[in-house]
Symmetry: C2
C-alpha cells in the first residue's frame, strides 16, 4: 500500500495513515494458523467456516492450503464465495425458508435442513443437495436425532440429494477444561453417529475450532475462528495465535485513565470487554474505550485492542489492513457482510 505525497513521490503507508478504529491482520500469524490447521486436518477433513472472517481473500488463502469445501452461515456469504470463484462445494450450515438466491448460484450448493418446511424451501428454491441438521445438545437448529432418518427419506422422495448429516456441538467448543470438552463432544457425536446410521451419505459435518482435534467422529470439521482467534478461544490453549486486532488511537487522558477511539461499534461485546495488554479496561462506549494503562501513554499513541469474540467484531468492519510491523502491506475487504 502506497500513499501519494504532495510532491508526486509515493511512500509506503503505515498504520499511522489509517483512520482508527481499524482492523489489522498479521499475515504471518494468519498463514501459520492456516498451515497448522491444514496439517492437522488436511484437504476435505476441514470445511473452513467463513463466518468468522467474512473475507474471500482469507478464504482463498485457505483454498490454497488445500481446502476446497467451505461452510457459510448466511446467503450473502454463499453468494460472495461463489462470486469469488470459491464455489466448488459450499455448505450453508443454517436453515432458510427462501432458498431461491441459493438455487440461482453458479456453485455446488448444499443447505442444512431440519424440518419439512426447510426441505420444501430447498426444493422450491432449486437447491439440489442437503444435509440433515441434527440437534446434538445445543438448543438451536437441528432435528431430534430420532427424526433424522424420516427427514432424509422425505428429502429423497422430493428429489433432493442427501449428502449426510450435520450436528454442531456448540455447547462443547468453548469448554475450558479439555477433558470436559472432549466428554461433551463425545456425547454429542454419539447422537450424530446414530442419526447418520439412519440417514446415510458420505458427510458427517460437525465441530469447531475448540473441538478440531478431539472430534474424531466427524468426516469434516467446520472450524472458522482458528484463522484469526480471539481472547475467548485463547483461553483454551489451542495451537493458533491471535492474528488480528483493532488498532485504536489514544485521544484523551484523564486522571488515572486513558481513552481510545475503539468502542461498541467496532467490537462484538457478547463475550464481554476486549483486552489491552498492560492495561485494565474500565468500560466501552459507542466510539470509546476507557482504560487504565500500567505505563503512561500519550495522546496520539496507537494501541492494540484484542476482541473477546472474533465473529461479531469483524462484522462491523469494512476491511482488514495487513501489516508487517507498522507497515501496511495490503488491504482486504470484509466482503461477506450482511444477509
Amino acid at each position: 500500500m502506497f500513499r501519494h505525497l504532495a510532491d508526486g513521490l509515493i511512500s509506503m503507508a503505515t498504520i499511522h495513515d489509517l483512520q482508527t478504529p481499524a482492523l489489522l491482520l498479521d499475515p504471518q500469524a494468519l498463514d501459520a494458523n492456516i498451515a497448522a490447521m491444514a496439517l492437522a486436518l488436511p484437504g476435505e477433513r476441514l470445511r473452513p467456516h467463513v463466518k468468522a472472517h467474512k473475507c474471500t481473500a482469507i478464504a482463498a488463502r485457505q483454498r490454497a492450503a488445500g481446502h476446497s469445501r467451505f461452510c457459510c452461515a448466511t446467503i450473502r456469504e454463499m453468494e460472495g464465495m461463489a462470486a469469488a470463484g470459491l464455489g466448488e462445494d459450499l455448505l450453508l450450515a443454517n436453515e432458510v425458508l427462501d432458498a431461491s438466491r441459493l438455487g440461482a448460484l453458479d456453485a455446488r450448493v448444499t443447505v442444512a435442513v431440519d424440518s419439512e418446511e426447510t426441505i420444501n424451501a430447498a426444493v422450491r428454491g432449486g437447491v439440489g443437495e442437503v444435509l440433515i441438521d441434527v440437534n446434538v445438545g445445543l438448543p438451536r437448529c437441528g432435528c431430534p436425532p430420532a427424526r433424522a432418518g424420516a427427514l432424509a427419506d422425505a428429502a429423497r422422495r422430493k428429489g433432493l440429494g442427501v449428502r449426510g448429516v450435520m450436528g454442531y456441538e456448540g455447547h462443547a467448543v468453548g469448554v475450558a477444561a479439555r477433558a470436559e470438552r472432549e466428554q461433551a463432544c463425545s456425547e454429542s457425536m454419539a447422537l450424530l453417529m446414530k442419526a447418520h446410521a439412519e440417514v446415510g451419505g458420505e458427510l458427517i459435518s460437525a465441530g469447531g475450532t475448540g473441538t478440531y482435534d478431539c472430534n474424531t467422529w466427524a468426516s469434516e470439521i467446520q472450524a472458522g475462528s482458528y484463522v484469526l482467534m480471539d481472547t475467548a478461544y485463547a483461553a483454551l490453549a489451542l495451537p493458533f495465535a491471535q492474528a488480528f486486532w483493532v488498532l485504536a488511537t489514544v485521544i484523551s487522558l484523564g486522571d488515572g485513565f486513558a481513552v481510545a477511539d475503539c468502542g461498541l461499534k467496532a467490537l462484538g461485546m457478547d463475550h464481554g470487554n476486549p483486552t489491552i495488554e498492560g492495561a485494565r479496561i474500565w468500560f466501552c462506549s459507542d466510539e470509546h474505550i476507557t482504560f487504565a494503562p500500567e505505563k503512561p501513554v500519550a495522546i496520539g499513541d496507537h494501541i492494540r485492542v484484542l476482541p473477546a469474540h472474533v465473529d461479531p467484531t469483524v462484522a462491523y468492519h469494512e476491511s482488514f489492513h495487513l501489516v508487517a510491523g507498522d507497515q501496511v502491506i495490503d488491504t482486504w475487504p470484509v466482503d461477506l457482510r450482511g444477509w
Copy 2:
C-alpha cells in the same frame, strides 16, 4: 416499494419479501418522536445526534422539524451529513488527532477539543471552530473543568473560534430513578457552567435522551436515541415510542424453544439480550436467537426482536425498511456507518 412479478405486473412489497434479519422502521412512531422532541426542544435548543440512527434520511426529517444544527460521533458521519446537504452547523462531539478530512468539508464544522494535542490537530486540519470538551463526571473525554479556560485561551491564540463548552453527563442519562437522574445531571452541569464562565462563547452543549427535559442548563441538548428508542431507554418512561425493531424469521422449532435468524451480528449486545414480546430469551448466537415463546409459533413466522441498545444495533445494518403494517413503503440506507 414495489416488486416486479413474472407477468410484468407490480405489487406492493411486504415484510415477507425481505431477507431477514432486517431493520424495520415505523415512520409514524418516528415522526411522533421527532415531533414530541421538537415541541419540548424547538429549533436550536436541540442538536440532534446522528450516531444512533446513522441515516441522513432520518436526519432530513429532523431538519424538517426545525433543527438545523447536528451532532456527530465520527468523521464519516460528518462527511455523510455534509454530502447530504445537512452541513449548516455540524459538531463532531469527539476528539480527533487528524482533522484533515473535517477541514476539507463543505460545511460549517466545529470539533470538540480537550487538550493541546487536539487543538493543534484542529489547526493542522484546517478546522476553524471548536468547543472545549469538559469532563463533568463520566470518565471519558473532556478536560478537567479548571483547565477549560486555559485551553480556550490556547485555542484562541492559535486562531480558532471557540464557540463554547461541551460536557456529556453520560453517567446520568441512563439512571432509572428520575430524582437521582436529575441530581446527577445537576451536579454535572454545575461543573460545566463553571467551565463555561471561564471559556465564554454562545454554546453550552450537553445532555442526551435521558436528560432532555431535566438538563435546563445547556443551551442545546445532544439527544439521538429518542428518534428510535430501545428497551434500555424504554425503562425510563420517556414520552418516546419504540420506532424500530429487527424482523426475524422462525427457522427451527425445538422442544420448548424456537429459533429465529437474528443473532449477534444483527444486535448490539453490550446492554444484554434483546426482547421478544411474549417470549423468554434463552441466548443469542452469531446468526440465531433461541427463545421460549408463550404461545406456539410456526416455522416461517415473522417475529419482532427489540434491541437493548439502539446504536450498536443499527451500525450492523445496511438499511431501514419503513413499514405500515406488513407493507414496506420505503427503504432508507444506513449511510453513515464506518469511520
